[in-house]
Symmetry: C2
Subunit: 155 residues, 2 copies
Amino acid sequence: MSEQRVTIGEAARLTGVSAKMIRWYEETGLLAPAARLESGYRTYGEADIHTLRFVRRARDLGFSVEAIADLLALWRDRGRPSAGVKAIALEQIAVLRQRITELEGMARTLEHLAATCCGDARPDCPILDDLAADEPPPPPVPRRRRGLGRGVPRA
Amino acid sequence: MSEQRVTIGEAARLTGVSAKMIRWYEETGLLAPAARLESGYRTYGEADIHTLRFVRRARDLGFSVEAIADLLALWRDRGRPSAGVKAIALEQIAVLRQRITELEGMARTLEHLAATCCGDARPDCPILDDLAADEPPPPPVPRRRRGLGRGVPRA
DNA sequence: CCTTGACCTTCCCATCATGGGAAGGGCCAC
DNA sequence: GTGGCCCTTCCCATGATGGGAAGGTCAAGG
């Protein structure tokens, strides 16, 4: 009853991580190099599938690949203190909350503008008027140093 | 009293759009090519500054460059119906709300997990247990097809 | 007149996670 | 043996942004 091993496509189906991404995770060191058949095909066993599901789940929670690497290391380290894990999670929560606050501000501003725009055939439009308002840049000093997911998904 | 013209660096300071971005917007067609001095330096007049501020403001509201191009066109088209503008704004609001909902879901899940994790020196950790839970992929079918700002800002 | 320093030019590269697609080979069932 | 998937690697694109190199301009001060 040697372990059942599957190809990368099957592993992708079983875990929800695309084959492309599995290769990329391997290439960038998030995952150890997969075992290969003589043909060169990668093969994955149950432990690998388990790991891939862990990765997908973490991605679904918005963790960066870098953070996932940390989480994986902690996961494999039985006996680690849970404090480290919690710290990573709290950091991620902070990032998410921050981002939500930014987006919420944008949405509220736009909702306000849209509410005052009749949106008919007439040319006057408070939305454009607002965008065109001749204000100098806000704080010329730091200007959101988010350097993160810096915009917003495109419209 | 010929119009006062400024260099790209000064325009950047006046508008909050970096010189790099101003060049990039020109290169990609969002902005018309700037006038040049004999030296090859770009120069910007008041109308250009106004336009750049419009662009910055729209970026601050999360509009994609593509959407900004549409807004700019409408802005310059006196006599356009305001309906088009409103439609773009509503679309953007929908995108923002969608994104907020996604992030909110992630944040709530993580907050729940973090709340049940003692975060001390002991090794048992509900967060890792959850990530490691052996669930198959959610809907293998569509898997978030956002194709937009696809992850979340990195942790 | 010449240097210095601040500014400009273009060009290339990196980010982050992801997908698309080409070119070539493997594997299996008919 | 052949057709149809699957695998391999490699390159390119995305979106908006920054970093930095190599070289030209310009104005002020010696």
